[in-house]
Symmetry: C2
Subunit: 547 residues, 2 copies
């Protein structure tokens, strides 16, 4: 009806937008309206704590797909074809940047070694198991022609965790350790999967020599270090520019604009140099929240904080809505409709491999990580290990994008084997996001029955005698103010012997205060008048959510 009305008006109206296809305007309208619906419905379902916005968006996306499928007479199901570019260039950067910007840096850096262990070694283990399983099982089944490269790609596709979904399912305040481990792993996982995917597509894997293996490992470290440095560099540059020029004098909007543009530039530069944009923009977010954010005006702080969160929120909804709609893309399902059993079987096998592949590294690596730590309260207990295993099972848009890259040409596929892999990927993504995602929250409440006290234990607040050292670990965001001059600091030698990782932090803080902050600003380097009530209370307003 709306469409007829529009075409009727069309005769009267302008033809200004004539060059753009009218159908794309219809799609955009519907898409934006659906995003609004997701927000409203997600809000209404907020009371129901099992539900989250991703799943709402997925369900709405699927329902819309069904409606479009029915109205178009079964020929078409999606408003927009899934595009890797849209995903990697526009939707992913704000999500990962915001995660870096809002992450609790204390937790993240304290668990840095464990995170890298999980993200790098863990992903390799998971990749190996899934590839191996796929080769052994699928070759005996009748699912069309798949080569060795395809099986290895399957391993890479299904070991790419979905950082976005983790953000939605776990709560940073409720389970800080789990959140930082699973999410941090997801970020490192991206760098690893870039290396693995590249290796699968470019190297001749039929003859793996030690030289090739070393090249791959070197490649990983090269990617990891350059990506991190690029992100940190972009963040520091933005801090320096804003501190030096003091944009706020003229307009707070310039500060906000330059922060957004520099963050985006860091991601695009990483993509330009074939680095891991996700790692780059994540570290750019961390550096920006540590330095740049403290150099801008109070109003810019409130604005950037919420703008980044909103952008990330909308991009997440967009992705889930998009994946939900694309799930019913009729072209791929045509190939499997004769043999629905095979598709279900393949999906089930893949889900099983994902479960096994993840278990195969979470438990052994947690054991290893616990060996390195002396303090009982820093170790990962068994229930936490189960949760880490479970919370990282979701596969999302990254898997979809990789699968489309490997098994289709410009979104189309003609081989039966490829079509089955695409539909199975969609099935695994939908199933893992909806079922595993829905169960995670209840599981957290089941395994960590008193989250309040457990959180306190994990985040090592008082109760232990080390309480006077703990503030030194802070990144300056949530602890500096508590640290009055009356606290007696232990000698650095004693600290180094007892708690090596804490000492690193202590020296980082000394270095930060002596060299970094005078150049790049950061907390306390902006003129701050404690007497002014406006400044003070907005400061409070901002701090409330940060800490």
């Amino acid at each position: 009806m709306g469409f007829e009305f529009a075409s009727l008006l069309g005769k009267l109206g302008s033809s200004r937008l004539g060059t753009s296809e009218y159908s794309s305007i219809v799609s955009m309208n519907l898409f934006v309206a659906l995003l609004c619906a997701c927000i409203v419905i997600g809000h209404l379902l907020e009371e129901n704590r099992w539900m989250n916005e991703s799943i709402t968006a997925l369900v709405i996306g699927i329902c819309t797909g069904v409606v479009i499928l029915l109205t178009s007479g079964g020929t078409n199901s999606h408003l927009l074809v899934f595009s890797e570019d849209l995903f990697f260039i526009y939707l992913l950067p704000p999500i990962i940047f915001n995660a870096g910007f809002q992450v609790k840096k204390k937790q993240f850096f304290r668990n840095f070694m464990t995170i890298v262990l999980f993200g790098a070694v863990g992903t390799v283990i998971s990749f190996t198991i899934i590839s191996f399983g796929a080769i052994n099982i699928f070759q005996r089944m009748d699912i069309g022609t798949l080569e060795l490269g395809d099986f290895l790609a399957i391993g890479a596709i299904f070991s790419a965790t979905d950082s976005v979904c983790t953000l939605q399912v776990l709560n940073q305040d409720q389970t800080p350790l789990l959140y930082s481990l699973v999410f941090g792993e997801g970020v490192v996982n991206d760098a690893t999967s870039v290396v693995i995917f590249n290796a699968v597509q470019n190297f001749d894997l039929s003859q793996i020599t030690t030289a090739v293996a070393f090249q791959l490992i070197g490649n990983f470290f090269y990617l990891f270090i350059t990506s991190t440095l690029l992100g940190a560099g972009a963040g520091l540059l933005s801090a320096y520019i804003i501190k030096k020029l003091y944009f706020g004098r003229h307009s707070t909007d310039r500060e906000v604009a330059i922060m957004i543009l520099m963050a985006y530039l860091s991601y695009m530069l990483a993509e330009l140099f074939y680095l891991s944009g996700i790692l780059t923009v994540f570290f750019c977010g961390i550096v920006m929240s540590h330095y740049t954010w403290h150099n801008v005006t109070e109003k810019s702080r409130v604005t950037t904080k919420h703008t980044f969160a909103t952008l990330s929120f909308v991009a997440e909804l967009f992705i889930f809505l998009y994946v939900g709609m694309d799930a019913l893309d009729i072209e791929k399902w045509k190939f499997v409709k004769d043999t629905p059993g095979t598709s279900v079987e393949v999906s089930a096998i893949l889900l099983g491999l994902v479960l096994v592949g993840r278990a195969a590294f979470v438990f052994p690596l947690s054991f290893l990580s616990n060996l390195m730590k002396k303090n009982q309260h820093e170790k990962i207990d068994f229930r936490q290990q189960v949760l880490i295993w479970w919370a990282g099972l979701m596969r999302g848009a990254v898997s979809m994008a990789l699968a489309y890259n490997q098994f289709t040409k410009l979104g189309h596929t003609t081989f039966r084997g490829n079509a089955i892999m695409i539909t199975s990927t969609i099935t695994v993504v939908l199933f893992s996001t909806m079922v595993f995602g829905l169960i995670t929250q209840p599981l957290v409440r089941l395994l960590l029955p008193t989250p309040k006290s457990l959180t306190r234990m994990i985040s090592s607040e008082p109760t232990t005698p080390k309480s006077f050292i703990v503030p030194l670990l802070g990144n300056g965001q949530d602890s500096e103010i508590d640290l009055g001059p009356h606290v007696v600091r232990p000698s650095s030698l004693r600290m180094l012997l007892s708690t090596p990782s804490h000492t690193v932090h202590y020296y980082w803080r000394k270095f930060d205060n002596a060299f970094m902050r005078p150049v790049f600003g950061g907390r306390g380097f902006v003129p701050f008048v404690p007497g002014s009530p406006t400044e003070q209370s907005t400061h409070h307003l901002v701090e409330e959510e940060t800490s």
Copy 2:
């Protein structure tokens, strides 16, 4: 160098972004970096009050175009081809929405009749004169084949004013009357130019009957009213949703997201129904700032205010950078390089017609408008008329977009006449923006030598005996608090006799308070605890810039 380095790394790196063209990533990097450069350089030039950011962006764009032209050996000058879709779908909406959101509503509605007179009747006069001049002058020159429809299109193209440039050149606080007149005219001008452009392209103009003329006038009113209602409706819907659901309870980001999405949806719906998206999103901005903005949390207020301003700021920079780069598009200039004299001549004639066409309606219509007003201080004096004439001379991206629509097919042209019109449009846009734009500020200072006192006079602050009525005109944003209960309100009959337009405002306020605010919220309807220092001072923080 960077490119070789990148391709070298390419062999090592990921092929994940393989489907997107690598060159588009290079372009985006360069473009984002140039935007950052514009902000920094614009900030450094801020002290020089003759300069503004648009012109900086234009100059940087032209310089980049020259560099690309030289490095590519004269084959290519732009990073991105000018696209109407990009302009009308992504860049224009945030600019116009923000203008509506931040406009001083008091000034705007008080001068509403004058604005509509200028925007509608004035545009028609300007269109007639430019078309007539073009027919008479260009037909005697050797500039290829142009038909009647082309000449009328030229009239429409060059009577479309550049609202974006007006925002940059005039200062709302310094010259509120001029700003609201020229900018308001620009917004109404858009609705008119939609109707005219449509008429030129669809109607058989060789035989204009009174029936056709009435149809056109009816069409204009239909467009104007439906677009306004759609915008106001979208704004009210957002206010109602946010008031009813109170998103802020759970997350302030949802409020921000829904405001942005609803505003964008209103624009896209207008385009869907072939209405004037500019008018729609402008009124949506006005309604949102009057109702919705007051229903959200304090943090959301700060965030939305600065987010909209930042988006608009970046979109403006983007447009000017883009137009600057596109100005050197070599394909169009090839046609005119044999006869550079003709192109210069055509551009000069068009500039002359623009000057005459605008003078032909500003002075007579100002006279008419002055006749309708009784109070001396509300009339537009001659120096102000000169400034209104001058400040609306800029032609910008809208003219470019219309010219591309009329004279090219997908950005390419093969006829000499068409190519000359394109290059002349570019010349007129660049010349008017840079020369007229640069001269406007000095001209304002020359003609209004004591802006402080004049501003006060124009905005009718105290000094006149009507001072106790004036607060009633406020939209509740800048006057309500001053209005203590001790102010004696005059009887409505006396008011109606003495100041009819003020009385309309008074009754609007009564209606607003009695019916609109209880449903849609607005200032004062959010629970507000005056005792809480946090709330109060953030409120102050927000108010500072609003008022």
